[in-house]
């Protein structure tokens, strides 16, 4: 059994940030990464990030990923196990994992769950035809493996993921027939929307897909307009000839391990699903188990990195490291999070966190 001070589950923006933060204070850290390379979703992000210098704004996502990986590599205190999936968290604090096809046990003093999120699906007739992808899958296909998914795409969802993946598809020479969004307004950043729109791609709000069709794979989709009660308006159907339908309809926090570990959970729509109740410093109701990034509520990668740092500092501090430096670093991270969330764009997250911290929780 491997013993370690801080175990971090997930090597994405939150996990890697947590690792270097905890290691910088002196803690020994082990990061478990399911994929063959760490970096999480950052490795596929070719657009420039928002935020401020503190969150590497202006750099492209994959560049930030490389930077975080480098920080962990150069730290003698950080070990990263790739091709390793955490399988369970047990009552006695033992974490099991599948590592390079072997079952391993780890006994950590503190755990930071930074598992991220998974893509949501929606139901419509023929939603299992080949050619229907999650937006994240399309990104992996294109930006990791260099393969375009098709010729002409219908993008469903005008949140940041839908807009960004549409832009990346266009950069790869793929045509976007339209971006449709069921909500009455574009959910993603409007600068992303404008740059796609001025290249000639229609963005249709209050629209949904009613069915996909095709013999062997997607040959087209029928979309229609929605009224103010989100009900389809008869006679507004449009037939779009596309060979790819891309779903960017939101993410769900990957909280199975938190459920298993008996963290008290709460369903908060503003945070995109069930999330563990945690304190300001990201410690859940299971002592010694912290969360950071999308698993604690779906948000931008900039906030995930700051949350990671905060959880890393807090975990190391609770082990007795950085007794002088840690409180100040925690305050800095909290101030950064507050700054990122304080504007209109962060309103939803703020509301969600308030609901989460509220005492009248429903226990699932």
């Amino acid at each position: 059994m491997k013993e370690i001070e801080v175990l971090i589950i997930g090597g994405g923006p939150a996990g890697l940030s947590a690792a270097s933060a905890a290691a910088n204070l002196g803690a020994s850290v082990l990061v478990l990464e399911r994929d063959e390379l760490p970096g999480g979703q950052l490795v596929k992000q070719t657009h420039k990030f928002f935020g401020s210098k503190k969150q590497y704004a202006g750099d492209r996502g994959f560049q930030i990923g490389n930077l975080l990986i480098e920080q962990c590599k150069t730290s003698a205190k950080v070990e990263v196990w790739t091709n390793t999936t955490a399988l369970g968290i047990y009552e006695d604090g033992v974490v099991t994992a599948e590592s390079q096809d072997e079952h391993v046990k780890i006994k950590p003093k503190k755990i930071i769950v930074a598992t991220g999120a998974s893509e949501k699906m929606i139901v419509f007739p023929n939603n299992d035809l080949p050619g229907i992808y999650g937006a994240g899958a399309v990104q992996t296909l294109m930006n990791v493996h260099g393969i375009v998914p098709g010729q002409r795409v219908l993008m469903i969802g005008a949140g940041n993921i839908g807009l960004i993946v549409s832009y990346q598809l266009m950069q790869a020479g793929v045509e976007i027939a339209a971006i449709i969004e069921a909500a009455p307004a574009i959910g993603g950043y409007l600068v992303h929307a404008s740059k796609i729109r001025r290249a000639g791609v229609p963005i249709l709000t209050s629209h949904t897909i009613t069915e996909a069709y095709g013999q062997e794979s997607v040959e087209g989709a029928v979309i229609c307009k929605l009224d103010e009660n989100w009900q389809p308006i008869q006679g507004t159907e449009q037939d779009l000839k596309v060979d790819v339908i891309c779903l960017a309809v939101g993410l769900s926090p990957l909280t199975e391990l938190c459920f298993q570990a008996d963290c008290r959970m709460k369903y908060v729509p503003e945070l995109s699903g069930h999330v563990p109740i945690r304190d300001e410093y990201l410690e859940t109701t299971r002592p010694g188990l912290y969360v950071a990034g999308d698993v604690s509520g779906v948000e931008e990668a900039s906030s995930a990195m700051v949350e990671g740092r905060l959880a890393g500092i807090s975990a190391a501090y609770s082990l007795g490291y950085g007794l002088e430096a840690a409180p100040k670093l925690q305050e800095e991270a909290l101030a950064e999070l507050n700054e990122l969330r304080s504007g209109p764009a962060g309103h939803k997250t703020m509301k969600g966190i308030m609901k989460l911290m509220d005492k009248g929780e429903v226990v699932c």
Partner: protein, 167 residues
């Protein structure tokens, strides 16, 4: 409505437009950033002190048109690709519009391209007179387009060229 279509309205654009006199004087940045999001690289990119530091990172950028010399550093740094440079002093009848560009193939100097407005509608065929690379790290190109004076505040994109995948 911008938040329904992605197309900034005339009123939106008016808010960030310099006076016709200022446009005539020489290159100036047009920051088409209309939504408060946590983002401030433009303020740090501007070495002229024309884009004022933000009190709150969610603030909209504030540009002093009189201080701005249209150098274009902010254009290539803006993560939202929302900054353009317009030079109304190019000639009596023509202006130069600089746009950020991240597609392939990158047009060459002398190429004639189809200019598009904020809705993606064609406005005519215009010549590229300069192409600036954003460099190894930044990668955002800046295209210099010569357009008629009266389209200087409308041309914001070009029809994407050549690259299509074989079936």
């Amino acid at each position: 409505m911008l938040n329904k279509t992605g197309i900034p309205t005339a009123e939106d654009v008016k808010k960030v437009s310099p006076s016709p006199d200022r446009l005539k004087k020489g290159p100036v940045a047009i920051i088409e950033c209309f939504q408060e999001i946590p983002c401030n690289p433009c303020t740090e990119a501007c070495k002229q002190g024309a884009i004022q530091p933000m009190e709150d990172i969610n603030n909209l950028p504030k540009l002093d048109f009189e201080i701005c010399n249209g150098c274009g550093v902010c254009l290539s740094r803006c993560p939202g690709l929302a900054i353009f440079i317009v030079d109304g002093s190019y000639s009596d009848r023509e202006a130069v519009v600089r746009i950020p560009y991240e597609y392939l193939p990158v047009p060459k100097v002398g190429d004639k391209v189809t200019g598009l407005n904020r809705s993606g509608e064609e406005l005519g065929v215009f010549e590229i007179i300069k192409v600036q690379s954003g460099g190894q790290k930044n990668k955002t190109y800046t295209l210099w387009l010569v357009v008629p004076q009266d389209l200087a505040m409308d041309v914001r994109s070009i029809r994407l060229g050549g690259l299509r995948h074989a079936i």
